[in-house]
């Protein structure tokens, strides 16, 4: 218990707990939370959102165990305090603390912050500030190394000024190397800047201050050049999933978390090649986990947590080559223990629907599919060429399995989209419903969720323009009038949020001032629609003299230099450009699991081969 730890804030925190909503967010001591021994290298790993969101994050759960398995090192968890707690903490002078020992983060050796998406940037700044550390890396002469990571580190440039280092790629192997280096630094009495310099030479770490950005008069990037003596390490690291069967003992959140289940990864990476998808580009190559390890992990983790649901997850679960076998074996465990089994992210075809439709304890809940686009042409542009007949089969199969709900994800604003593509979303939904009726089945309720396309770095669409506010709103209105049936439930993303996401996603270092301004103006929890305020961002851009449209709505020429070009995540710029050009011609590209490498660069540059445990159909 934290009371044993000198320097902990528990005694000052306790009286605040009755003043806030959900004190459980700050308690720690959950089932399976690690026992922390004093001494050694101390790592604090933070998720920049509230407990019930962050507690579900698989990546941090894995990294926490990786560090806690090391000798002489320990890792503790940190989440963003909610508004009420932030107020109490600032008034009472309680600094940001960890949940395990309630010690101030400022006394740790490493302060790792995962960057889940652009709308957490203000929360990230808030974490650094609440920890009592200077916001800018250049102003920090003491305290923990502030290290960013996670998928948001694919373009960390807008945040470059706030972090000492970024971890690129998967950190299961690189984080322990950093932890060891910190131990060595302490033993040898290195000053902080020497430690950061040595750390920047480790594989998988990038020190932003090693690079200088020069801009053209028109505002585009001219060059990103290393400063003298800079490390050349800017290549991400990837791991073998069979060597890292974690988390073994997932912490059981004290309140219901967003993904309140045991999550077992089937594989990392996805090479379907959807051109809008950043995860599909930056996590290559595909590395499957052995079926028996998946089954063993599901078995152990459910017994050790008491969760009532297991989810076999990955970027596209039904693509796991041994999915039938694993679903069957894990399904048996679930039936014995009265647990539910779920398969998120299904390919929309009959095979996937029939596997998912028959899962243990799945009952009458919904199945989710992501056709993304409603016309055949647009699906070829985004390289997600699902035939409409496959979609019909999937929905009919779900209805036949007794599923009462089907959720369909679409996107508006995709490159080359026409009014007809938007109009067709409603028409396709009705066609799917009618096809179920034609089989004499009761059609499930259809939830249609429509997000707005945001061009992301390291994807074939990184050159594309994003729709402006008015266009997004107009398309959303068209959808609303097209989908009026009572059996169809339409939801959409806040247009303003998509625009800010687009502004930051392809941002450069100049946006650091904008983020800082939005944060000082009170920006917190921007991904919560109740707390998002677009005006704050507009004004911050005005004050910085930056035009959001330059970042967000501008189509880039093929040869424009990008702020993230110097970061090597595997796929090459040539490959992405080729894919972009094929997209404009509505030509698809094959999935390399079928046996033909399309030379995206990942396997060669990252020195990892694709790993499949079964035969690709």
């Amino acid at each position: 218990m934290s009371e044993q730890f000198p320097g902990g804030v528990w005694e000052r925190l306790e009286p605040l707990l009755l003043e806030v909503e959900r004190p459980s967010r700050y308690l720690g001591g959950e089932w399976n939370a690690p026992d922390i021994e004093e001494g050694g290298t101390r790592v604090a790993l933070a998720y920049p959102d509230v407990y019930e969101i962050g507690a579900s994050n698989l990546g941090l759960a894995i990294l926490g165990e990786v560090v806690n398995d090391m000798d002489g090192a320990s890792s503790e968890r940190v989440y963003s305090p909610w508004f009420d707690m932030e107020r109490e903490m600032r008034t009472a002078g309680v600094p940001l603390f960890t949940l395990e020992t309630h010690r101030p983060v400022s006394g740790f050796d490493i302060f790792g912050i995962t960057i889940p998406h652009e709308l957490t940037y203000t929360n990230i700044l808030n974490l650094i500030d609440l920890a009592g550390l200077p916001l800018h890396a250049r102003d920090r002469s003491a305290g923990p190394l502030v290290v960013g990571g996670g998928c948001g580190a694919a373009n960390p440039e807008p945040l470059a000024g706030f972090f000492d280092l970024f971890a690129l790629g998967e950190a299961e192997e690189s984080l322990p190397r950093l932890v060891e280096l910190v131990g060595l630094a302490r033993a040898s009495g290195w000053p902080r800047d020497r430690l950061i310099a040595e750390a920047s030479r480790l594989d998988g770490f990038y020190r932003p201050s090693d690079y200088e950005v020069a801009y053209n008069p028109d505002g585009t990037v001219r060059a990103v050049d290393p400063v003298p003596g800079a490390s050349s390490s800017r290549v991400k690291t990837v791991v073998d999933l069979d060597r890292w069967c974690l988390p073994r003992r997932p912490v059981v959140p004290s309140c219901e978390a967003v993904h309140d289940r045991v999550n077992v990864e089937l594989f990392r990476g996805c090479v379907r090649g959807c051109r809008f998808c950043q995860a599909g580009m930056v996590y290559r190559p595909v590395r499957e986990r052995s079926a028996s390890l998946v089954v063993g992990m599901a078995d152990e983790a459910t017994a050790l947590t008491g969760h009532d649901e297991v989810s076999l997850c990955s970027l596209s679960s039904s693509d796991y080559t041994l999915i039938e076998e694993v679903a069957d074996r894990v399904g048996g465990i679930c039936e014995d223990r009265r647990l539910a089994l779920s398969l998120p992210s299904l390919r929309m075809d009959e095979r996937s629907a029939s596997i998912a439709g028959g899962l243990a304890g799945g009952g009458r809940g919904g199945l989710t599919f992501a056709p993304e686009a409603a016309t055949d042409r647009l699906r070829r542009v985004i390289n997600k060429p699902i035939a409409e007949s496959d979609m019909v089969d999937a929905v009919v199969c779900a209805a036949r399995a007794g599923r009462r709900r089907v959720k369909l994800y679409f996107m508006i604003g995709l490159p080359t989209e026409t009014d007809e593509d938007v109009f067709e979303i409603a028409a396709l939904v009705y066609r799917l419903r009618d096809a179920v009726r034609a089989q004499g089945l009761a059609p499930p309720a259809i939830n249609v969720s429509v997000s707005t396309f945001v061009p992301k770095p390291h994807t074939p669409f990184q050159w594309c323009a994003q729709d402006d506010m008015e266009t997004i709103r107009r398309k959303q209105d068209e959808l609303k009038s097209g989908l009026r049936s009572r059996a169809v439930n339409l939801s959409w993303h806040d247009a303003g949020m998509s625009v800010v996401e687009g502004l930051l996603a392809r941002g450069d270092r100049r946006l650091g001032a904008v983020i800082e301004d939005a944060w000082s103006a009170g920006g917190r929890f921007d991904s919560w629609s109740d707390h998002f305020d677009q005006a704050r961002w507009r004004e911050a851009c005005d004050r910085a003299g930056l035009d959001p449209g330059f970042y967000q709505q501008r189509e880039r020429p093929l040869d424009e230099a990008f702020p993230w070009d110097h970061l090597d995540l595997g796929v090459t710029r040539e490959f992405l450009a080729g894919e972009y050009q094929r997209a404009m011609r509505a030509e698809t590209s094959p999935d390399c699991r079928a046996g033909i490498c399309i030379e995206c660069g990942a396997c060669e540059r990252l020195d990892r081969a694709q790993v499949l445990k079964g035969r690709w159909p």
Binding site: L18, P23, S24, L27, G29, E30, W31, S254, E256
Partner: protein, 252 residues
């Protein structure tokens, strides 16, 4: 856990603490902690519902956040026989800190569930030492109990209304401590017949004794037990059906 199957499920009644950090859990979080622990325990639990199995469980009425208790009650349902002591051990190993099994007892599955039995909660309240005088508290208690009705403005998320809390207060004793402090012993309606919260009584009583809520916020409250009223006797659901104890209504 391998067990002898039963013709009909048994009720496993537990008395638990909710102390230390666990006192900050909401009722939903506390109930979740018990369900997760029950599934970890390997006990032969009964589930309800075919499609999405849900653990069968009955809980005593919610404890206000921050209040400690040594007498929370839970009923689980077992489909195989496990001795009560064994069940207690299995659960004790997997409950999170602050929630401990004090007592476990097996009962017939047809006995009334704990959630439907409890109507009274006993609390001990220790106001901060310098809050009021023993005499002031005693006079306030006498005044409170001698009234026919005591109005309290109950503020809830969706509505605010004035309620009479007098009839829900069955006992209000002031015990003097060495030194200056007092302990208030309360027995309040809680459960099937409605609920009076300890803070509501403290606020009114403090008003009568001339002590502000600001000062009383520092009071320490514990829930000592949960009961079923039998005339003017309070019977613990742990004791129901035992020789010498009152039989629950509706049986025999």
């Amino acid at each position: 856990m391998s067990t002898r199957p039963l013709p009909e499920p048994l009720r496993l009644r537990l008395r638990l603490t909710k102390k230390a950090r666990a006192r900050f859990l909401s009722h939903a979080e506390y109930s979740r902690a018990i369900m997760f622990a029950a599934r970890r325990s390997g006990l032969p639990l009964e589930f309800a519902g075919k499609h999405r199995p849900r653990l069968k469980l009955s809980l005593s009425p919610p404890l206000p956040i921050g209040v400690e208790s040594g007498g929370e009650l839970v009923d689980l349902s077992l489909v195989g026989y496990v001795p009560a002591a064994e069940a207690k051990r299995a659960l004790s190993e997997v409950l999170p800190p602050g929630i401990e099994v004090v007592e476990a007892r097996l009962m017939s599955g047809s006995d009334k569930a704990v959630g439907k039995l409890i109507d009274t909660a006993a609390y001990l309240v220790s106001p901060p030492e310098d809050a009021g005088t023993p005499r002031g508290w005693r006079d306030a208690a006498v005044e409170f109990m001698s009234r026919d009705s005591v109005e309290f403005t109950r503020v809830q998320p969706r509505r605010t209304r004035v309620v009479d809390i007098r009839k829900g207060v069955h006992r209000l004793d002031v015990e003097e401590l060495e030194g200056d402090g007092v302990t208030l012993a309360l027995a309040l309606d809680d459960g099937v017949a409605g609920t009076v919260k300890p803070w509501e009584v403290i606020e009114v009583l403090g008003g009568m004794a001339g002590v502000s809520m600001e000062v009383l916020k520092g009071s320490r409250i514990t829930r000592e037990g949960l009961f079923s009223r039998r005339g003017d006797r309070l019977v613990s659901p742990m004791e129901l059906g035992r020789r010498g104890a009152a039989a629950p209504r509706g049986r025999r």
